[in-house]
């Protein structure tokens, strides 16, 4: 008789699976549920990108690529991040093509963190940083960002979180789920604190193209003194609607990238070849397509923010990503209760803020990767729900 509790790595066994999984499995079995839950674009990948992938298949480009990714794509990434975010990386040895931004995050954390090392993670944020840190034997140190600070990491918070054991700071901006961004001055303050330390920054910039209201994304690596300590992670999923292609990249100083690439080499070999060929087209010729999608998100964003505020849920204006993060504190319900009761009584699925860390209590995440009509219907149902409370 196998005793699996002895067979399985206890660190893995102790990691909780995403708590809302069960909740949304229920939602999936119910009829007539409308969701504001998903975290991926509703747009299809622009046709010219799909075509580039198809062309590569027709030409028989079906082999492994270099571990680092095909040279042409790395060079396109180098041009792209310079053009968009004013950061300079050499195509050789400073840029690695990965399986989504996710793999880049995993490999970067593993390359930097040894057992007992501390990783500073701002929350509410995307769910992967904490479990990956634990898998590496690291110790997560959580910064609870505040609504009144627009969910930014403040200088003071960073100072308090730093210790001699700090190895890595995660900067997940533009932020899922809060929609927060970090502006130049905000980053300069953090750079000041980090100066003179050996702390590395993992900047997850997967939503970098999705910023609104005239605010352009600022890459931490573009701030004085930050390039040398920053690994910039980005990818194709959100900006180019390419979630299923699983393609991203990491850029950083050679000394770090060499180590990250070793992990990538042994764990993954190389990112999907077809996706890499498609991605060249995305970076080179799709600014117009991205602009069109961003414009569309912006209209939905305004619609959703206005809608929530109108029905009585205080909703700050998100400056990036494609989520709103309204407060539900006025209802007196916990985030979990709110979401569960809303699902059962009005058949609307939203994600409790607590899915993104304890500090998400009192908030819900609603995605605007949906048509305006869909958003209006969902908000109107949530409005009815509030009236009946």
């Amino acid at each position: 008789m196998m005793d699996y509790s002895k067979a399985i790595n206890h660190t893995v066994a102790e990691i909780k699976p995403s708590g809302i999984r069960k909740f949304f499995d229920i939602a999936a079995t119910m009829d007539g549920v409308i969701s504001l839950g998903v975290g991926e674009p509703d747009f299809r990948t622009p046709w010219q990108i799909r075509k580039a992938g198809i062309n590569s298949l027709e030409k028989g480009k079906t082999k492994y690529t270099s571990n680092w990714g095909i040279a042409q794509l790395r060079s396109a990434v180098s041009d792209y991040v310079k053009r968009k975010y004013s950061i300079n990386y050499q195509p050789d040895e400073e840029i690695l093509i990965t399986v989504g931004g996710s793999e880049a995050i995993d490999a970067c954390i593993r390359a930097v963190v040894a057992p007992g090392d501390e990783v500073i993670i701002p929350q509410p944020s995307y769910v992967c940083y904490e479990p990956i840190t634990r898998l590496a034997g690291g110790v997560p140190v959580i910064i609870e960002t505040k609504a009144e600070d627009d969910f930014k990491v403040t200088k003071k918070q960073l100072e308090n979180a730093l210790s001699p054991r700090t190895k890595l700071l995660i900067l997940p901006y533009p932020c899922n789920p809060t929609g927060a961004i970090m502006e130049k001055e905000d980053l300069e303050e953090l750079a000041d604190v980090l100066k003179g330390t050996n702390v590395i920054v993992l900047s997850d910039e997967i939503y970098a193209e999705l910023t609104f209201g005239g605010k352009r994304h600022v890459s931490p690596a573009s701030i004085d003194g930050m390039w040398e300590r920053t690994v910039t992670v980005n990818g194709f999923s959100k900006a180019f609607s390419m979630t299923g292609w699983r393609l991203g990249f990491a850029c950083g100083p050679r000394e770090i990238m060499d180590q990250i690439t070793k992990i990538h080499q042994f764990a993954i070999m190389c990112a999907p070849t077809t996706s890499q060929y498609a991605a060249i087209e995305a970076l080179k010729n799709c600014d117009g397509e991205v602009e069109r999608m961003v414009h569309e998100y912006d209209m939905r964003r305004r619609m959703m923010v206005a809608g929530f505020n109108e029905i009585g849920l205080v909703c700050r204006e998100p400056k990036g990503a494609f989520y709103t993060f309204p407060s539900i504190k006025s209802t007196g319900l916990s985030s979990d209760e709110f979401c569960e009761r809303l699902l059962y009584s009005k058949k609307v699925a939203v994600v409790p803020g607590t899915a993104f860390g304890e500090s998400g209590e009192g908030f819900i995440r609603a995605s605007y990767c949906y048509s305006v009509e869909h958003i209006k219907e969902a908000i109107s149902r949530i409005g009815e729900f509030l009236k009946e409370l």
Binding site: V38, N176, V351
Partner: protein, 160 residues
């Protein structure tokens, strides 16, 4: 702003001035005034529902008729186009590039209705030298709206 308003109304004519104002970051009054002006200036010709007539009526037939026309001196194709568009049966009339001149969409209750209309009314016009009738067999999409089958949200249940 005008162009953005037109794009939104062309997508969904039921958007209110308030909806549009929110989406464009403007105010309701300004948008309402713009829309009134667009209507007055004739940029907006009207608003109507997109009906799936195949669902509503037992018999609904439409056809695309290609017409070859000898243009009149000075008037060109205008005269014949104007006389064709006056018929109630005619849904649309376009002047085309390529191998024929006028594209006329005709609707009726039966195949015979449409055939009769073409034979009696269109083919008999003096300047019309040839007609070719294509009956519509199935409507999949009309005015950007999918009629046959739903476009499903096939996104995985990855919520976070």
């Amino acid at each position: 702003m005008k162009y953005e308003i037109l794009k939104l109304l062309a997508r969904n004519a039921k958007y209110s001035a308030k909806d549009i104002a929110v989406m464009l970051g403007s105010d309701e009054d300004t948008v309402a005034k713009e829309i009134a002006q667009l209507e007055k200036d004739g940029f907006i010709k009207g608003y109507k529902a997109i009906v799936d007539w195949q669902m509503v009526e037992d018999s609904y037939v439409s056809a695309i008729i290609e017409l070859n026309v000898v243009p009149k001196a000075e008037l060109g194709f205008e005269e014949v186009a104007e006389s064709i568009m006056k018929y109630e049966e005619v849904e649309s009339v376009y002047l085309m590039s390529g191998s024929y001149d006028l594209n006329v969409v005709v609707k009726g209750k039966t195949l015979q209705d449409v055939a009769r209309f073409v034979a009696r009314e269109l083919a008999t016009i003096d300047s019309v030298t040839q007609t070719t009738t294509h009956f519509v067999m199935r409507r999949y999409k009309e005015m950007d709206v999918v009629l046959a089958g739903d476009e499903k949200d096939d996104r995985g249940q990855l919520f976070i």
